[in-house]
């Protein structure tokens, strides 16, 4: 079975800007794949390359084994949920959802039926006659999803679809999207800059920075075994320690990553450090330590006593938790 999407050495340059730079990528059929990275890292350009809105400057793209260079967006069996939804303001919700089928010449009665079924799937039954302008952000997001899914695409592309929603709604949609994806078995490619969203939803994640993929792997791999300083810092804000400090903590002279929640403040044993600050986060308190001139964050579960600023504490960790990243990470 061919890959749902495969990139071979794909680049997209805009003048001197290398938006996407020699990217290799393989997405398996039926996978929930997240492209994670800061803004300007090339993840959205990659999505637009799959949709066909951009053409690669060089390299080769296949969708389900078929070469797509030179194939316009309207001939790709791929649909997109746009960041700001891009609903047609002059059409009502039902006509928006039925748009793809109207274009394909599906009969009026049938497409009305399919549109209503799609609206039911995203929990908006009976909203067909409203205009997009009368809907809330969350509802528009669902309509955009229904409009894409009703065409049963081979790949569904989602460009930061939850970015404009408030936290509660976002968490709810994250769950629903995951359930929908499992039920439909469609390959989802999801672009986000929110690492917790990527970690909680995706089967696999590609972390982008400056037009390149830094690391691809399962959320567990990305979180537990970051390959580079960038990944360690961007995903879950780990403590990235330079070789000198790693050595002081008893490791080899390599860059290393130590997760804040893996560090324990322990009065009896461990290394000594000074407390330089503490901030209350709700479920935990983040305590900042000074270790040989480097800042080290520690997540202290709520309920434990928070040491005072300037106090001297001892800290420890399990040997496995100090993740080594080599000398040139």
């Amino acid at each position: 079975m061919p890959h749902a999407v495969s990139f071979q050495q794909v680049s997209r340059h805009f003048g001197a800007v290398r938006a996407v730079d020699a990217v290799d990528l393989e997405i398996a059929p039926g996978e929930f794949f997240a492209m994670l990275g800061p803004s300007g890292s090339g993840k959205t350009t990659c999505l637009r390359l799959i949709a066909g809105f951009e053409q690669p400057t060089s390299g080769h793209i296949e969708i389900f084994g078929e070469t797509v260079e030179g194939v316009p967006p309207y001939r790709r069996n791929v649909n997109t949920v746009f960041q700001d939804y891009a609903l047609f303001p002059h059409l009502n919700v039902a006509d928006n959802v039925a748009y793809g089928q109207m274009i394909r010449g599906v009969g009026k009665a049938e497409r009305a039926r399919n549109a209503e079924a799609a609206l039911e799937m995203v929990k908006l039954p009976g909203y067909g006659s409203r205009k997009p302008g009368q809907l809330s952000g969350g509802q528009r997001q669902r309509v955009a999803l229904a409009r894409a899914l009703v065409n049963k695409p081979k790949v569904l592309l989602l460009d930061e679809p939850l970015g404009a929603l408030d936290l509660k709604l976002r968490e709810q949609m994250q769950e629903e999207l995951k359930v929908l994806q499992k039920a439909l078995g469609i390959t989802f490619v999801f672009v986000t800059h929110d690492q917790s969203e990527a970690l909680s939803m995706a089967d696999r994640i590609a972390v982008f920075n400056e037009g390149r993929i830094m690391q691809t792997g399962t959320p567990e791999e990305i979180y537990r075994r970051p390959k580079t300083r960038f990944v360690a810092d961007f995903v879950g804000s780990s403590n990235v320690l330079p070789p000198k400090v790693t050595q002081q903590l008893g490791g080899p002279a390599e860059w290393s990553s130590l997760r804040p929640e893996d560090v324990r403040l322990d009065a009896v044993s461990g290394h000594e450090a000074r407390v330089t600050g503490a901030s209350f986060l709700g479920s935990a308190t983040r305590v900042t330590l000074d270790v040989a001139g480097e800042k080290l964050n520690v997540l202290l579960p709520s309920g434990l006593a928070v040491p005072e600023q300037g106090a001297s504490v001892r800290f420890s960790w399990k040997p496995d938790d100090l993740h080594l990243m080599g000398t040139d990470a």
Partner: protein, 319 residues
């Protein structure tokens, strides 16, 4: 602490002082007052001068003229409208409306690609070039342009010379030999009138169209393509419906300007009258103010019907 608070004074800053300062404060507290003061003069101007004179005109059209004395009889009657609907006058109305319709359609067809380019692709220097190119013809005198066209279209004119050099004179002759659109030369044919109308009113179509096209977000066009629509389908189903208010606005300009113009058909065209020329003749030499007024009401009514039809067809749904 004490240093910074003594340096910046209390929590409320001193007023600007003077009349300006107290006016600013008063307007800030009562924004409606400012709005009222700003809107009153232009609204008076619009209401009294514009609408008032239009109303006076409407009343004039319900008066009639005494055939013996030539004096206006100030009694309400539909006699003038009866006169308006005589075949010879009806002819003028039909001719003008057909011309206005054709000019509008031709302007829309020519304007669309230009407006689309300006809205979607032109940036920076190109955008400036676009505005300059569209506006420049509007800066020169309307009469100069029309007389220039007379030279271009005349029998021994520029266009004839070019066609002669290309050995294509038979095309012009063939066209001029046609009934209705033809004539002795382009400058005295309805075709000439049409060409000059399109030339003169084109900017009034391009500018509102460009403004409307600019307001159509690019991602809607992408969404349409994403859902399988070819460029042609996207044009029909997304771009045109969303840009339609601009097209309608432009067509209101070209249509009503053609309906009311009396100079172009007088200088370039046949001796057949257009509405504007009829108004000019009746209020001037003929001294038949009521009939001139009745003729002027025609474009108003036609535009009213046009807008009503456009609204019914959903042209303004995207607004």
């Amino acid at each position: 602490m004490s240093v910074s608070s003594s340096a910046s004074g209390g929590a409320i800053l001193a007023g600007r002082g003077g009349l300006g300062g107290s006016l600013s404060d008063a307007f800030w507290r009562k924004p409606q007052l400012l709005l009222f003061l700003m809107l009153t003069p232009p609204l008076l101007w619009l209401g009294v001068i514009y609408l008032g004179s239009l109303f006076a005109l409407l009343i004039q059209s319900f008066f009639s003229i005494d055939e013996f004395s030539g004096m206006v009889v100030r009694e309400f009657t539909l006699k003038t409208y009866g006169e308006l609907l005589r075949p010879s006058n009806l002819d003028i109305i039909v001719r003008t409306v057909i011309m206005a319709g054709l000019v509008t359609i031709a302007s829309a067809v020519i304007a669309f690609p230009i407006a689309y380019f300006a809205a979607r692709y032109a940036r920076g220097r190109w955008k400036a070039m676009f505005y300059l190119g569209v506006m420049l013809p509007l800066w020169s005198s309307y009469l100069v342009k029309i007389y220039a066209w007379k030279l271009i279209l005349a029998k021994e004119g520029i266009l004839g010379w070019v066609f002669d050099k290309l050995h294509l004179t038979f095309l012009i002759d063939g066209w001029l030999a046609l009934p209705i659109v033809g004539g002795n030369s382009l400058s005295v044919s309805p075709t000439g009138t049409f060409l000059v109308f399109v030339y003169v009113w084109l900017p009034f179509m391009i500018l509102p169209m460009q403004a409307a096209l600019e307001r159509v977000p690019t991602n809607l066009l992408e969404a349409s393509a994403d859902l399988g629509a070819s460029p042609g389908q996207t044009f029909r189903n997304v771009l045109l419906p969303l840009a339609l208010p601009g097209v309608i606005a432009g067509s209101i300009f070209t249509f009503s300007l053609t309906l009311g113009d009396y100079i172009i058909p007088q200088i370039i065209g046949t001796s057949h009258l257009f509405i504007g020329m009829a108004v000019y003749a009746h209020q001037g030499t003929a001294g038949n103010i009521p009939l001139a007024a009745a003729f002027t009401v025609v474009p108003v009514v036609i535009m009213g019907i046009y807008l009503w039809l456009a609204k019914r067809a959903g042209a303004f749904n995207a607004l």
